[in-house]
Amino acid sequence: MPAAAAIAQKVWDVPTRLVHWGLAIGIATSWWSVENKAMDIHYWSGLTILGLLIFRIYWGFAGPETARFASFIKGPMTVFGYIPKLFSKNYRAAFGHNPLGALSVVALLVAVLTQVSLGLFASDTDGLFAGPLNRHVDYATAEEITDFHEDFFNVVLALVGLHLAAIAFYLVVKRINLIGPMLTGQRRGDSLTGPSSGIAPIPPWRLAIGVALAVGLVWFIAR
């Protein structure tokens, strides 16, 4: 393994990293709170996750290159073509999501969005706590949605497991640390893919619109 030269490339911007770790904490909090019957915490962690997802979807169109769906979602040919590259001798970490990892990202976003959307209509067995949209469905429908909300969490867990397994694979087999860049935003190495300047800065007003959109939509749903 060549010693890492002092080249640092910015791959992840602050909002993308905050959303990532916010989702990780939010999912863990939602899981812990429901297992411990802290439904008031569950309610707010679910709405927080919803807000993070709304922002992330917006950021997939308005954010920097590595956060944009159009730049990392690839067709099946590119995805399959990536696999032999992954196992080639001179493999280098992708600038942002690699074509295969992008599938995992999209699957996770869709699954977590499905899960929180179901939760909006769900209710606990005591009828003491209910999601903000529960009153728009009848009792039987709410019961079915709640059961599905419980079962669907296994899909979220499976995808989180796959995500962690892939990170471990890159770390152990490929000797590529994906966690560091998600913490610091920087990838270090002597041979990097993508522009050496890294991602371009995004004007603050675009960030402000995203925050307003996320907070506004969550407020509208929860009020």
Partner: protein, 182 residues
């Protein structure tokens, strides 16, 4: 080769997780479901409270009990829906609370001998209802009191202040005497 291995591992992981999700799905195992309907009622020592003799048709009795709880759930939802409104429909609130109070008044008679888990019929009722009837009955009385206050609420403020206490009475009893359905 490693590609295949990785893909296999990934699918295995997914498969395992999926199975993990299915296993707990049937609410409770019903091992003796096909066994003869409730044998001679095995009366558990109940200390001081009266448990009641086993009903003639245990399955039908338990079905009615389940339906009654479903009805409480439906009425709780009416209350829950109104909690989210600035101007709750007090006629609907009072009607729902009165129905819950009515069920609560009967509830202590819903658990005679032979209608617990030993019946072999699917139920979320824990054996503790029969072994600790004094505590159970106290929880039922608590629901009668709280739902009674709720039914007597005359304005939105009174309703909204009393709803959590009523739901809390449900929850306190569920936490102790109801099986978690997972």
């Amino acid at each position: 080769m490693k590609i295949k291995l990785f893909a296999t591992a990934a699918f295995l992981a997914l498969g395992l997780a999926a199975c993990g999700g299915e296993a707990p799905a049937p609410a409770e195992p019903t091992p003796a479901a096909e066994a003869a309907p409730a044998p001679a009622p095995e009366v558990t020592p109940a200390a001081t409270a009266d448990i009641g003799a086993p009903p003639a048709d245990i399955a039908a009795f338990m079905k009615t009990r389940h339906d009654n709880y479903e009805d409480i759930g439906k009425n709780m939802k009416v209350l829950q829906d109104n909690m989210k409104l600035d101007a709750p429909d007090m006629a609907a609130v009072t009607a729902a609370a009165t129905k819950i109070k009515g069920h609560a008044d009967e509830m202590a008679t819903w658990f005679p001998a032979g209608t617990g888990p030993e019946s072999g019929i699917k139920t979320e009722a824990k054996a503790e209802i029969w072994t600790d009837r004094v505590t159970f009955n106290a929880a039922v009385v608590k629901l009668q009191e709280e739902s009674g206050k709720l039914a007597a609420a005359t304005d939105a403020a009174g309703f909204k202040a009393q709803f959590p206490a009523t739901g809390g009475a449900c929850k306190a009893c569920h936490d102790k005497f109801r099986l978690e359905d997972k």
